[in-house]
Amino acid sequence: MLAVIIAKRAALFALAWLILTGAAPGGLVVGAAAVIAATAVSLKLLPPSPRQAKVWALIALIPGFLWRSVLGGADVAWRALHPKLPIHPGWIDYPVTLQDGTARAMFGAQTSLLPGTLSAGLEGATMRIHCLEVSDRTRDELARGEARVARALSQQPESGENGTDG
């Protein structure tokens, strides 16, 4: 269990090293030391959670995330450039069911890049979300976004301890 987590993190850091150095062979020894050190630091700062990240499910989220952030950017650009400035800002208090801090922060970051919503962090277990246009669809969209993060990071109570297919 722990070995799988360590291997996943080390693989991620190794990938980053190879990208930075252009996979130069002369950097492999130093790179190995850097990867070991980075993995050790990450284990210290972010102790493994029993709810594991599913690497493939996370990768599968990327295209949808990119598309929605394009929509988010286009939406805010349209509102900014429109002569009438069509915004009616307001707040939504959204109760979050995600368990881990990193999952919540990731959901908040994702929310902040989607059309019309911006997270201002948690108050207890409620996320305060600023909206450019408060509507009923916003809540549904938030719930869908949360479900996506929950699946990829095994945050659903029923998926429990065995989400290790990454």
Binding site: L20, V35, V41
Partner: protein, 312 residues
């Protein structure tokens, strides 16, 4: 087009400098100063001085902002912020004259510089002996090693000066306040995820420094930023200033540099690298210096000890 870009960048830099000076209050000036550092990094980049741009980017983005905002916070907490910080006219006249004199001397120095390419050709002709692809690293550690050694010691001396401000009875204590965060909040999560990436990037910069832009100072600054982030996020407290491990990290760079210099004295002169082993020795100094610079900068930002250590 290149010229138009450079002119626009210069205009922007001058504008930001003016706004930082004329400022609407201290915090506004501070925000402009952060932006100023960023634009200066872009200016170095446009001048093709990538090594300097990297150093300026890392210092400006990672350390200066944290340091200045921390200082502002400390002044604000003591209600020591002067709401109308206009000095007496005599003070202002003298400050203006001083700036004018320094500016004039700098202009004279630049006008008096010999034309041509400076020492560029000499450096490029001889750097092959050191087997280093990056001329800047070759100059800093090969041809001008004495300067670089003293610079690394100056940085350490600055930290000693900061530590000498330790209040009575707190020697051996912990620098800076104890940072508190919500353990599952955004700040803590950011502090959990970013430092390992900063570590990889820092090691990459010192590795790249031998043949491409990068080097110990740039790498040390990025590593220091990762350290500062873990502290700000409340995940890791600063060490006690008497901690032997911390002392070792602070000293290893300058100490190794001095040792190599002393050994070199036996081969033909202080800081003469042993022939045939120039590159590995220089690289060892670079890696050690990166670690020492990282520790020194991080603790300079933290300031003098403010709390008693845990051991006593």
């Amino acid at each position: 087009m290149s010229l138009v870009f450079d002119i626009a960048l210069c205009a922007l830099i001058l504008g930001v400098a003016a706004m930082a000076l004329l400022g609407r209050g201290l915090f506004a000036s501070l925000a402009f100063f952060i932006v100023y550092g960023l634009l200066i990094a872009l200016a170095w980049l446009s001048l093709n001085a990538i090594d300097v741009a990297l150093a300026e980017a890392a210092i400006g983005a990672g350390v200066t902002g944290v340091l200045l905002i921390g200082a502002w916070q400390a002044l604000n907490a003591q209600s020591a912020l002067d709401p109308d910080p206009v000095a007496h006219w005599i003070t202002r006249v003298f400050a203006g004259l001083g700036c004018l004199a320094i500016g004039g001397l700098l202009a004279l120095a630049i006008l008096a510089m010999p034309g041509g390419t400076g020492l560029t050709t000499e450096v490029i002709d001889t750097q092959g002996q050191l087997d280093l692809g990056n001329s800047v690293t070759a100059v800093l550690l090969g041809f001008r090693a004495y300067d670089t050694l003293l610079e690394s010691i100056v940085l350490l001396a600055a930290l000693v000066a900061v530590w000498s401000l330790t209040p009575q009875g707190l020697w051996g204590g912990i620098p800076g306040p104890r940072h508190r965060t919500r353990p599952d909040g955004v700040m803590a999560s950011f502090g959990r995820l970013l430092p390992p990436a900063g570590l990889i990037a820092g090691v990459y910069l010192v590795w790249a420094g031998s043949d491409a832009p990068g080097g110990a100072f740039q790498a040390g600054t990025v590593l220091a930023a990762a350290w500062i982030l873990a502290v700000l996020a409340g995940l890791q407290d600063e060490p006690e200033v008497t901690s032997p491990l911390l002392r070792a990290a602070l000293l290893i760079g300058p100490a190794l540099f001095l040792l190599v210099g002393a050994v070199g004295a036996g081969f033909g002169g202080f800081l003469a690298y042993p022939e045939g082993f120039e590159k590995p020795v220089i690289l060892a100094i670079e890696y050690a210096l990166a670690l020492s610079i990282a520790a020194t900068l991080a603790l300079l930002v933290a300031g003098p000890p403010r709390r008693p250590g845990g051991a006593r």
